[in-house]
């Protein structure tokens, strides 16, 4: 059975890719500000560029994940989408939020916290949009949790915990939290850490569906192992956030719990993808080969990031690495190498279901994809290098200015390879973007959802 066209899904993909392209442009400008201190310092300083970049690229992750869910749920449930009207409303609100936040940042209107720098009242709209999405999901799927495959659990968890954590991230508005810096920072990172877990649940859920679709093996998402992995992921989502806050003087217990739990999650995912690869070669070697290929690259990134995350979750190492670009390597390594690639595998799978399997698998795509991965590796290594160099500089008691001078060669590599990552993503995503744009603009009469 083929996946059928979803208008809301298509428009979410169009919004997601546009958001990513613009977000990458700001990332590249931010990279240049590292190399050229005076560059756009007054007109569009890092104070605006960083939130513009981070907001837009995270918006890519959320919109692409939502688009994939809109495409997949009629297929997995065998029902039509509950309400196209609610879905359209969801898109509309999402678009309003996007425009509002981006213009606000341009005009220097902040007032929120890191990663959610916009004024807190915008969160009300985010919550409304999310509830519309949840209604559509749960009424369409009507999951009976005793039997459903693991990706339904994953999506449901992602949906629920984004709602919980976006609310939790607003607790600072209450004096009980705001007036106590330790509580405030701890709760902020608790909420953000679990929010990252919530989008991972959405992304991994879709990745697991992709694997099932490619191999035709329904067992992989119903096995004991798959559920073991899911519950371990959930435990991480709930309790591992503390590794962001080792240095914050909260109770010792927070550190112990998060360290113990941090060590496990990605390994299991790598394991699952690994076994998927075996099944793939046994069962169905020519279906959606491109999506398969992208997933195997994501697997390599998972392993690489796993080594880094486990290292920086060890308190003795974290003592040195926290507050350095190693954290940024961790953040961008996982959001690009893992989240973006896994989402790309979904987008490619869906696009090829629409236009014909193998249509996107061209030498052009291949070359661009390799180019992207090499650039990303250099980009990632430059961030790790910056982090290590900063640790040495701090150890030798360099002043901030001396340290910045010492890091300069790394900044150059970071900034240039960042531009290459931008180009790589542009090249890889362009054919996918065009496909969805054509689908979105085509006559809507054939829309079954």
């Amino acid at each position: 059975m083929k996946i059928s066209k979803s208008i809301p899904g298509t428009w979410f993909f169009i919004m997601a890719i546009s958001s990513l392209f613009i977000g990458l442009l700001f990332g590249a400008l931010g990279g240049l500000q590292y190399v050229l201190p005076g560059f756009l310092k007054e007109a569009l300083s890092f104070q605006k560029i960083r939130p513009l970049h981070v907001y837009l690229v995270i918006n890519w992750i959320f919109c692409a994940a939502a688009g994939a869910v809109y495409y997949y749920i009629p297929y997995v449930s065998g029902r039509k989408l509950y309400s196209t009207l609610l879905a359209k409303l969801h898109i509309l609100i999402q678009l309003i939020i996007l425009i509002w936040v981006v213009t606000g940042f341009f005009m220097g209107r902040f007032g929120g916290r890191e990663y959610l720098e916009f004024p807190p009242y915008i969160v009300v709209l985010i919550i409304v949009a999310w509830i519309l999405f949840m209604i559509n999901f749960f009424v369409t799927v009507r999951p009976s949790f005793k039997e459903v495959p693991v990706y339904i659990w994953s999506w449901s968890t992602g949906l629920l915990f984004f709602l919980i954590t976006i609310c939790e991230a607003q607790l600072w508005l209450l004096p009980h939290f705001n007036n106590n810096i330790i509580r405030d920072i701890t709760v902020q990172w608790k909420a953000m850490g679990s929010m990252v877990g919530s989008w991972n649940m959405l992304v991994y859920g879709s990745a697991m569906f992709v694997m099932e679709k490619i191999t035709g093996d329904k067992g992989i998402n119903r096995s004991k192992k798959a559920f073991f992995f899911y519950f371990l992921g959930l435990t991480n989502l709930l309790f591992n956030w503390g590794h962001h806050t080792y240095i914050v003087p909260s109770s010792e217990l927070v550190r112990t719990i998060s360290y113990t739990i941090s060590m496990t999650e990605l390994l299991i995912l790598a394991n699952i993808i690994y076994s998927f690869r075996k099944t793939y070669f046994k069962t169905n070697p020519h279906k959606h080969f491109l999506s398969f290929r992208i997933v195997t690259y994501a697997e390599a990134w998972i392993l690489l990031n796993l080594v880094l995350s486990i290292s920086i979750s060890v308190p003795a190492i974290n003592f040195y690495t926290h507050g350095t670009h190693i954290t940024v390597a961790h953040a961008m390594g996982t959001t690009i190498g893992i989240n973006t690639l896994l989402l790309l595998s979904s987008l490619v799978l869906i696009a090829e279901e629409m236009i014909g399997d193998g249509k996107l698998f061209t030498p052009y795509f291949n070359r661009s994809f390799i180019f992207l991965n090499i650039s990303l590796l250099v980009f990632w290594l430059s961030l790790v290098g910056m982090g290590i160099c900063k640790i040495i500089a701090v150890h030798e008691k360099n002043s901030f200015t001396e340290m910045m001078a010492r890091l300069y060669p790394y900044f150059q590599v970071f900034s240039i390879s960042g531009i290459f990552v931008f180009l790589g993503l542009l090249l890889v995503l362009m054919p996918v973007f065009k496909t969805f744009l054509k689908l979105g603009l085509a006559k809507q009469s054939s829309d079954p959802s």
């Binding site: 500000q33 890092f46 902040f110 720098e117 106590n180 810096i181 701890t186 914050v248 003087p249 926290h322």
Partner: protein, 122 residues
Amino acid sequence: MQKLLIFAILFITYITYSSWVYTRGTDRASIMSSHQELGKQIYQEYNCQSCHQLFGLGGYLGPELTTVISDKNRGELYARILLENGAIRMPNFHLSPKQVNALIDYLKYVDANAFTYKTDGK
């Protein structure tokens, strides 16, 4: 059924843990004054966190500020000069003297509560 049970147990543990984190797990800090709170608000409105870290959290283009006040090589006066004039990378925000005072007061509060920085000998 088993799966729902595991989920329920995890969820209840999460709620319990969260309530503890919201209260006793984080009660070491002193409570900030309203003037310091104003400083915090300005810190957010100017998005200082995009370039600076407190407790290692925030963007990385600028220096970590948790202990800027008690740092022998930096200190309050230096911080004031930076806030009033900007520097090579730090923009001049044309802050009013009142805003600068509130920001400094907030940074003092953060510094006073940075126990982990001091006991670790940093």
